[in-house]
Structure formats: C-alpha cells, structure tokens
Amino acid sequence: FHLGVTPSTIRARYNLTASDTGHAANNSQAVAQFLEQYYHPADLAEFMSIFARGFNHMTEVERVVGTQEEGKAGLEASLDVEYIMSTGANISTWVFTNPGRHETQEPFLQWMLLLSNMSAVPWVHTISYGDDEDSLSTAYMNRINVEFMKAGLRGISMLFASGDSGAGCLHLAKENVFRPSFPASSPYVTTVGGTTFKNPFKVTYEVTHYISGGGFSNVFAMPDYQVDAVSAYLKGAQSLPPQSYFNHSGRAYPDMAALSDNYWVVTNLVPIPWISGTSASTPVVGGILSLINDQRFLKGLPSLGFLNPRLYKLKGTGLFDVTEECHLGCLDEKVEGQGFCAASSWDPVTGWGTPNYPALLAALIQ
C-alpha cells in the first residue's frame, strides 16, 4: 500500500535492490532546465531525507552548468533532479540551466550549443520539454536532429519526454489530425512515455497513463530500426484511429515508458503529492540507463550511447510490456477523445514498456 509514487515505490516496481546504485568513477548523468526553472539544493536534501531511505544516494548535484539565479524553485526542475538521482542513485549528476542570457537567445538552442562546445559532458541527458511539430520549421528540426546525431556519435544518450497530451490534436477547418511533438519525434533520441499503476495505491502492474504522448511524426520518416515493430502494431492493433489522423510512415514514438502519475516532489521545501506527466517518467528512465552504463563501465565497456537501434533489437526483453488502456486524442465525433491504445510488444503509447532493471541490465551488459 502506498500514498503516491516515491523513490521506494519506483525502485520496488522496477526491481532495483538497495545495492543497485552507482559505483563507477567516470559515470555521470544530467537534466536540462529552461525557462527560468531552478532547483534548490535544500529541496533535494529534504526530498532525499524523507523519501530516499534504504539505498545509497547523493544529496547534492555535482555540477550546475549555467546560472542558477535566485527565486522560487520550479516544480519541473525539482522533479527532474529528485527522480534522476533516485533511480540513478549515487551517480554524479549535472544540471544544465538555460534561462537565456540575452533576450534574443533560445534556451533550448543554447543548451545544444553548450553540448557542441564541451568535450566532457554526462553520458545520459533527460529533457522534459517539447513543442508541437507544426509550430517549428523543417530547417530547424532537421538541424537539431543533426545535433542529436552528433551527441549519439559521442556515446551520449538523449532522452526526451513524449509529452502530456496523448496523441495531441490539431483542429483544422475540415478535419482534425493528431499533433506530434518535437524533439520527442526525432528518430535520434529515445522518447519516454508514461504509465500508471493498475491499482493506484499498490505496486501492481502498469497500464497506460492517458496523458502519455505518442504517435507518428509528420516530418521524420520512420527509421529502419523500428519498421518491424511499428508494422506489427499497425497490422495487429484491434482498433486504430482513422488513417487520416496520423502519418503511418513517420517516426513513431515513444520508445519506452515509466510511471508518470501521482509522484511526490519537494519544491520550495514543501512535499507536494499528485505530480504527474512524462516529465516524471523521463528522469526515472534516465537514471536506470545511467545505472546500466555504470555496470558497463565497471566491465570496461563503452556507454550505451544512442539506445534505440539496440532497444528495438531486444524486442521487449528486459521490459514490462504495457498492454492496457489508451491515451487521449482529438475530442471529436470520429475518435471521441481517444488516440492510440496499448498492445502487446511495441505500441505508440508506451513504446516497448517499462524497465525491469535486472533483466534490462542482463540484456544490455553483453
């Protein structure tokens, strides 16, 4: 029985034991914040003292890149830092904070520039922000895509939240269509969706969280690594939205998922319940990938880098398949508020599923 998701709940569900913490010297992980979102070191310390008993962890961020200004802590920033350091426990954690030094800077772009200018950066980055694909230019998205390729070639894993609007909806004059989100729709990042416990007060199996972002890109073609998985879903799904609502040949996301509902977060020294969103699931997965990197480093292996080609070859090994419920879509007569539904194996709501740490580690350590 529990009254919301805490580090203990997550570690229990994903089979992390007390000894599953970081040990390697050269391991590191990072979260990136934009839009005047700051975390407070005191919040992190309080969070760890209340919720993170029973496993070895750090209580301080190793490095802040950028300016942590005065002012209230942001909920988003608190959430990201507190949870990446709970699953990726005892692993050196960096916070990139990009409020925009000049009034004409684009904070996200500024973060990308930083990565292009720092020889040594953490191996895993989690980012909980996104824009509607249709609001961005193709030239911009293509170039950001190349920046993700550059990071992948360096062995860096980029994780993005899939968004909190399900399939999304673009209201057009004639007919509505689903609305994919970028960078979640980039073929060169690992996108994380959201789940919730079947019984919200117990550590049970997981079902789709209705907000979990997912769908098909209208800009990027489906990469080779996911063709078989997505085709199997499209052929086997019991019910699909009308084809006019999505581009079935586009990059499909998310790639995997984690719990995204009813989190406890400490912000401005106050413990707050009921925090939800893929902003929560993304750092959880990030921390788990950092733990796997840790074990790989101890064996003299390189980092996981860009995970998707390997993730799709696992065909679900090491993950809990999420097969129940659907996410949100357009509220209209044709789809009546429903987007896609979870199914066995990969689906555009929860990807391949949620991590079963010991099994995923075994699959990714070879």
Binding site: G74, S119, L136, G152, R154, R310
Partner: protein
Amino acid sequence: GKHLELDQAVFVPEDWLHAGRVAPREEMELTFALKQQNVDRLQNLLQLVSDPDSQQYGKFMTLEEVASLVRPSQLTEKAVWTWLKGHGIQNCHTVLTRDFLQCTMTAQVAETLLPGTEFHRYKKGDQTLMRSSSQYSVHEDVSDHLDFVGGVLRFPMGSKEIGKAWTGPGQSEKA
C-alpha cells in the same frame, strides 16, 4: 533575400505580452547555424556505432573528432563572415565544432541584416524576450550556407508541457 524558415509559425504564445518595439540601438545576440559538412556520413557512422550487430558498435568519437567531420567548409565560413562584416558585425564567437556562430549587434543592424524583421519585446512575469513579429530573410549569397538564424522567431519551448506537469483533480475529471 531568401527565407530560410518559411514554415516556422510566427505567433506570440498567449502567456507572453507585447511590451513595445525594441529601440534601434538596443543590443541583441543572434545565433547563426552554419551548414555542416558530411551529414550523411555522420548519420551512417551513428548507425554503425549504435547497432549491436556492427563491428563498430560502441566505438564512439570525441567531440574533436565529430568537429572535424561536420565542421562547415571554408567557403561557408568565408561567405557568412563576409556577410556579417559587410554589416559591421565583428563581435562574434563560435563553438568547438564551428557550426554555430553567435554575434552581438544592435536591433537596427539586425533588421538590416535580416530583411523582413521587426523586433519587439515581450514579457512573461519577470522574463523578457526580443523576437521579430514577422518572417526574416537572408541575402542570397549566404542562403546556401545557413540552416537557420536563432533568436528571431521561436519563443522558448515547453511552456505547454510545464503547465500540464501538475495534474490535479481537474485533469482527472477532464479525462
């Protein structure tokens, strides 16, 4: 001139309020994304180092090696620098990969450099931003050497997601 991002939506998100035209002498910093070389090769290499069935799996490159792969051509760098210097812009800095250039200039110079722009200030709480209220173009001589210019049109991403991070009883009812 030529438009680089004609399909970029030009709109002010509802939580940003207009706070007047930017004065001609006010300084701003724009980001120029220079065309990179060997993008196809970069893509192929990424596939090889990320595919567990490849012999190259896990053989990652350093930032310096990536830089030598994607660094813009001399022609690109020269064309962009000539264009900027032609407008009296000298205060620029680049990154290790040399594929981004950030330059400081006045609003007046920016509006001449990027025909079509008209810079305004927008406020959201304590935050202020300068953005153009209309599309930009660049001189034809540099249009093939740039991917886009940052800091002109896009508002910071993510406000939509943040707003939904808190799911209270209202959200549940909606669902």
